[in-house]
Symmetry: C2
Subunit: 324 residues, 2 copies
Amino acid sequence: MGLLAANLISSACCFVPLPPPSPLRFQAKRSSQRVLKAALTSSEKMDSGGQAAPVSKLMEFPHLTAAHTDLMLYLIQTVENGLGDHLLPSTVPTDVEYYENKNGTSQGTLLIRHGIPSSPIDFMIASWLHLKQPQGGAFNITNIAGYMKPSNDIPHFQFELVQCSPTFLIFFLDLLPRTDIILHPDYLTTYYEETGLEKLRQRLAALPEVSPYFSSSLYFRKVVSSTGILVGVKCEESESKRVEEIVREEIGPISKEVMRIWMELCLNGGRELEEDERSLMEKRDLMIKRKAIEMDLSKSMPLQFGEEVANRVLQVIRSAFKTA
Amino acid sequence: MGLLAANLISSACCFVPLPPPSPLRFQAKRSSQRVLKAALTSSEKMDSGGQAAPVSKLMEFPHLTAAHTDLMLYLIQTVENGLGDHLLPSTVPTDVEYYENKNGTSQGTLLIRHGIPSSPIDFMIASWLHLKQPQGGAFNITNIAGYMKPSNDIPHFQFELVQCSPTFLIFFLDLLPRTDIILHPDYLTTYYEETGLEKLRQRLAALPEVSPYFSSSLYFRKVVSSTGILVGVKCEESESKRVEEIVREEIGPISKEVMRIWMELCLNGGRELEEDERSLMEKRDLMIKRKAIEMDLSKSMPLQFGEEVANRVLQVIRSAFKTA
């Protein structure tokens, strides 16, 4: 569930003439598919030590463009290949893995996999949402995020791509800083300067169709890092192919590279924190997650999916976020 | 001396084809002028209790456009009228009040006035710089900043307007947050949401000539607030009148309103801090100032003005910033 998802979407509505909707996840259906089998290989292994866990659901992206789908599959596969050994199988209940509103026009999926005790990763969360808009059209939101444990200071990973219309995207890609940069400029050096993230931000910013996107939440503007990518991609009405080209040739390679950088940081394990640093980190992490849920998700989910479904989904997210 | 001045300028050089220069101040000349007399009235009073201190220097802006000059005079006058009673006379030595490079092509001015003991203001600093560029043309940088004491949490005021060419400006206007917003969202509510700063940012951002400006320093990107204005204003080569129009009709009114908001906060005195909060605030404030000097000013000043002049000016700034 994207940290900025609901907020991005509410804001997006001010941008394109559509009304406030809500969050997101991977589409999961009840049939099996080759790509998911591959993606679940190591969680099956972890689950039962030889005895395969049931392949529960399928990742499909029925509403996305080919470029967007390919990118999602690549990122999921990459997490699986690179960090699968770090992650336990998803324990999300079936009716939260996939959910929809009463008339089935809006759909959502959710996958959460916790890190094993020795991993620096607390959990990974992924989702897609298809949100039918009353005036026609739909928002398609896809998200992958990796949250770290408070025992290390590795930035959280955030990827979120929102197709608001065939010619307008919002894209958020960042490693979220976990400390007050003003007091800790060396954190900036280690995780942002030495990793070359700025080059990637600049590459995307140079495209004429791309412009900085300002979240409507002043709080989230401060959550984003110095090299965070938070942009709108807007093409002429006749140019939906150009949007797909930008996803395939720019957003895709940049996302893959940021994910690669983050995974490398995870595999190195990060810096071990002292007790007082750890408790501050925990407090800070919690504030960000709490803000995401209380300010955005808890308002937009019920509007989009009704109280009952929203409560069910939010309970699972709150439990993973430890904000319950 | 603008916090981001040197950095802005170094970055600006990547933007317009000009090489790395440095900082800024009010032009002060050795003759008297009506406008300065007015501006110095209350500092004269403070200085000697009845016996007027010598009117030392004059504020002129010989290199600026009329709109830019008018705005500077308005802002200085407004500080004088609204906060003059809070401020002691400037103690900047004459050869730092006004300085120039060997051949006199680059000039700078500096004015620093400390707050009286009962004021929440630590000091105000103002400056202009005229920096001749080797390839022709010049940068004109003007700056007014108000730094607060660590006994209160009122944001620092920052105004900086840089004319890089007749058709390109960089503009920085902000109330700098003095706490980690992630842990203290109520700080955001008090000083940024309730003051309506976002509306002002949006007003300027809506102009087609205006686009977000990314400082080359990843550190300073984190210093800026959520509603901070950091933009480039770029017009067609034939449109230098349009730049002046934007200064007069947009940048002017917005700057005046942000200054009014900040002065009101100062006059209310802000929240009194506990001892531990105060020491954290002091540490944070110091980091920002130190970064400004060590990363930027200490590199760019000697290049622009030579070692001797630069040392003289930097010593005065370091002493006010308490980073010496």
